[in-house]
């Protein structure tokens, strides 16, 4: 059958610069570049190019460029190029379109329509380089009351045991399973979380025993597949997250193909080698808030009520009411994943068309929990498409407690957001289990880069706080007076609970 699918990208090789060192040939897992000894030339088979830039970055003479293959279809406002290409692909494959990473459609990014405040004259701004600036955040359930007792030496002491986890910055790493990402990346996330005093999340793939040493910085996840879960696993981390949904594919389960399940993953997930790891769409024991409450308290029993148990849901319609139910079911934290949240594999149509933006989810959940007087009982973790420190500051001012970042962490490790995570051929050694490819992430370098990223963002967050004249992130949290909307409709402003610029 003749394939009617054109190449998506075109490789431009500058022959004046190319020294035929064959680094590109060796590095491309998609086998795009091939060396022809007879001609002493390197030829590129562009159809399989995904524009991951591995060859571009590795080329010692900058001889390569990847550009979008400009094949113009007849202009048609309804049948755009992307639509025709996707349709053709399905006509040839007969399958569900798959993709990786987060929603890439041009939905409005509300963060770009929100601006922050700064102090002028009437209240002084603070220079974070001269004054102490507090980013410390406590993770878990905050009690309604605290009891104080007099110590022996006459100094009052806190009697109530708070049981909170201390985060040095209000940023944690999102749930990414060992399986969806490689061992080395997992290790880098764990190590950098430990060094930074923050948390990383095991995802639904269990916890490899090599990572038990990072337990004090681990959130262990309990998802619908229940992979790698036993009593011992649940006790390894400092918090437990029950994963109901994920922003990239709300209502959809997961599928780790059998070829990725090598010995290490089989041990970690507690499944036989080579078998598919299929996470069902729902938890088969959760059909109501009451069922969820049972699971939360089962887990709390197993872990002796020592650690916070939370629930992760995708941002969908009625997220506020669902969150309220989760809070009342006894959860200590709620993770809400917006529709721009990433994934290792999701049906393209689901990723691009299901769910709501995280901006509205944060605002409506925060409002609802405040109205019901239970906001303090829940740590609100927001995730899904946070791109920079400004997004994080805005989200915290909108009402989030902690921000979880997944894609930014992967980009720090080398990801170029080519959206082919599901292929298992990740040229950057991140979303693959191929032993040849996973070596491309040196965990030491990745750790360094992750730490640099969080350090850089925390410096920027401090600058934002200083400019606003506050010296602690707690003073900003939920303080929507620091936000103004620009170019937003009256309804949007109303949902977000912020004023328009100039007001």
């Amino acid at each position: 059958m003749l394939s009617c699918l054109p190449a998506k990208f075109k490789i431009v090789r500058d022959s004046n610069r190319c020294i035929k060192c064959k680094v590109c040939v060796q590095q491309c897992a998609y086998e795009v570049h091939n060396y022809d000894a007879e001609e002493d030339e390197i030829f590129s088979e562009e159809k399989s190019c995904v524009s991951c830039h591995r060859c571009v970055n590795m080329c010692p003479t900058q001889a390569l460029t990847v550009v979008v293959y400009q094949l113009d279809y007849v202009p048609n406002a309804n049948w755009k190029k992307l639509d025709i290409m996707r349709l053709t692909e399905q006509a040839e494959s007969g399958g569900v379109l798959l993709t990786g990473m987060g929603n890439d459609l041009a939905y409005p990014i509300i963060w770009d329509n929100i601006v922050l405040n700064a102090s002028q004259v009437t209240n002084p701004s603070i220079d974070p380089l001269r004054e102490p600036m507090e980013l410390r955040t406590y993770f878990g359930r905050k009690t309604n009351t605290v009891e104080i007792e007099m110590g022996e030496n006459g100094i009052p002491q806190l009697k109530t045991k708070l049981g909170l986890i201390k985060l040095e910055v209000p940023i944690i790493f999102s749930a990414m399973s060992f399986g969806s990402i490689s061992y080395n990346v997992h290790r880098a996330l764990a190590q950098s979380a430990k060094d930074l005093g923050i948390l990383y999340n095991t995802g639904e793939g269990g916890l490899h025993k090599d990572f038990y040493q990072y337990g004090s910085n681990t959130i262990v996840q309990c998802a619908s597949g229940r992979f790698g879960i036993d009593e011992y696993y649940l006790q390894q981390g400092v918090a437990i997250e029950i994963k109901i949904g994920q922003g990239a594919k709300p209502g959809i389960g997961g599928h780790l193909p059998g070829e990725k399940v090598d010995e290490r993953i089989s041990m970690t997930r507690m499944i036989p080698t080579g078998t598919d790891a299929i996470s069902p769409a729902p938890h088969h024991d959760i059909y109501s808030i009451e069922d969820l409450r049972q699971l939360i308290f089962s887990i709390k029993e197993v872990t002796y009520y020592k650690m916070p148990v939370g629930v992760k849901i995708a941002a969908v319609h009625n997220v506020a009411a669902i969150s309220s139910g989760i809070a009342r079911a006894g959860a200590d934290f709620i993770t809400i994943d917006g529709f721009r949240g990433g994934t290792g594999a999701a049906p393209t149509m689901i990723r691009d068309n299901v769910g709501i933006p995280i901006e509205f989810a944060i605002a409506s959940v925060d409002d609802r929990l405040r109205q019901e007087g239970i906001r303090n009982e829940i740590t609100l973790v927001a995730s899904g498409g946070f791109r920079n420190s400004a997004d994080i500051v805005k989200a915290i001012a909108l009402g989030a407690d902690v921000i979880a970042i997944g894609t930014p962490a992967l980009i720090a490790c080398g990801c170029h957001v080519c959206q082919n995570c599901y292929s298992g051929k990740c040229n950057w050694g991140i979303a693959t289990q191929d032993p040849q490819l996973t070596k491309r992430v040196n965990p030491d370098i990745a750790t360094r880069r992750l730490k640099n990223l969080i350090r850089a963002w925390s410096l920027e967050i401090k600058e934002f706080l200083g400019a606003m004249g506050v010296n602690a992130i707690e003073s900003l949290r939920g303080n929507r007076e620091h936000l103004r909307g620009i170019g937003l409709s009256r309804n949007y402003l109303d949902i977000l609970g912020i004023k328009e610029v100039g007001r």
């Binding site: 610069r17 060192c21 680094v23 590095q27 590795m58 290790r187 191929d434 040849q436 040196n442 370098i445």
Partner: protein
């Protein structure tokens, strides 16, 4: 004495060490000229061994008792007081005795010149070109007596995990 070592767990076999070695040992030290113009062609002083997924580069180990120095019939191989094994090109007659005796394959035949070349640890540079240019920090330069500590701490990659698995039975 500092020597070049490789962490096989993160060597991707890209071959940039080879490219950088060629440039460093070319006349012009310009990558385009070295590969396209210079004649005779500069030769890399290392080899890349690869059997997927394992790959690593091999260069002269600068042995304590180098067999190439013993075997050299023309006095072209010399071990200096710093411990670096040098090859003096002018004295080399191209008999390849050194190639025959080297256990590591650290002496490379320069076909264009009918002589041999070998790693000189880039005497002109602080850090050898291959080490400096390794994109994944797989190659590193370290004192010989420190290497054991590094090996012990290095539990990344497949070998590391196998070691760990042997140490800890599951649960």
């Amino acid at each position: 004495m500092k020597k070049i070592y490789i962490n096989e767990d993160v060597c991707t076999g890209c071959g940039l060490c080879r490219v950088n070695c060629i440039v460093e040992h070319s006349k012009s030290k310009n990558i385009n000229k070295a590969f396209k113009k210079e004649s005779p062609k500069p030769t890399a002083r290392l080899r890349i061994e690869e059997r997927k997924p394992i790959s690593f580069s091999v260069q002269c180990r600068h042995c304590d008792e180098p067999r190439c120095v013993e075997a050299c019939i023309s006095g072209a191989m010399i071990k200096d007081e710093d411990g670096i094994v040098y090859h003096i090109e002018e004295k080399c007659v191209g008999c390849l005795s050194c190639v025959m005796v080297c256990e590591y394959g650290g002496v490379i035949i320069d076909k264009d010149r009918d002589k041999v070349v070998k790693c000189d640890l880039c005497i002109d540079r602080d850090i050898p070109a291959c080490v400096a240019g390794c994109p994944n920090e797989a190659l590193f330069m370290i004192e010989e007596n420190e290497i054991k500590v590094t090996e012990k701490n290095n539990l990344t990659g497949i070998d590391g995990i196998d070691k760990m698995n042997k140490l800890l039975s599951f649960r």
